[in-house]
Symmetry: C2
Subunit: 101 residues, 2 copies
């Protein structure tokens, strides 16, 4: 995410290791599209090497909760646990400061 | 980072795009080694594709500040701005909740 937002706002730090990648990339693209349509969405960054890291940014915890409970996202979370993720962590963090160039 | 820590603790979310990667990987390895020796360090995750994301986890803002001011790290930050980063952002965020499998 390039454009700075006014602090405080929230970050969801999602890290994962995949046991299986069949169909994963398609789901990830679809979820990113959907997240961008959610109220309170600010931005998203994603990269995967040994570990995958996706950080999405949100206006507040309410918008994170609504996204967590989005129907298509719930289906993706379920499939993730059953099929794709060897391990995963979700961290909800309040962004207090930011700077950059 | 696999092992969960007791919330709250802090995350430094560093995202960057490189304009030049000469010598970058060596510096990154060196900085990760040094960070791990700092008081208050909890863990680190890193991945790079189009964008590079490094999330490091710390006990508190004081330990983040001490790491930011570490001499070798200051040198690396300076080189980063002069030589490696097309763009970068640093976000300091308080981890309030975490869950995973």
């Amino acid at each position: 995410m390039n454009s700075p937002a006014f602090t405080p706002y929230y970050a969801v730090i999602f890290t994962s290791k995949l046991s299986n990648s069949e169909g994963y990339a398609e789901m990830a693209v679809e979820m990113e599209k959907l997240a961008k349509q959610q109220d309170g969405f600010i931005g998203i960054d994603s990269a995967r090497e040994d570990v995958g890291i996706t950080v999405s940014y949100w206006r507040d915890v309410e918008s994170i909760k609504a996204w967590k409970e989005n129907f298509a996202h719930l289906q993706a979370q379920k499939l993730g646990k059953e099929k794709w993720y060897e391990s995963y962590s979700v961290r909800i963090a309040k962004v207090e400061r930011e700077y950059g160039n």
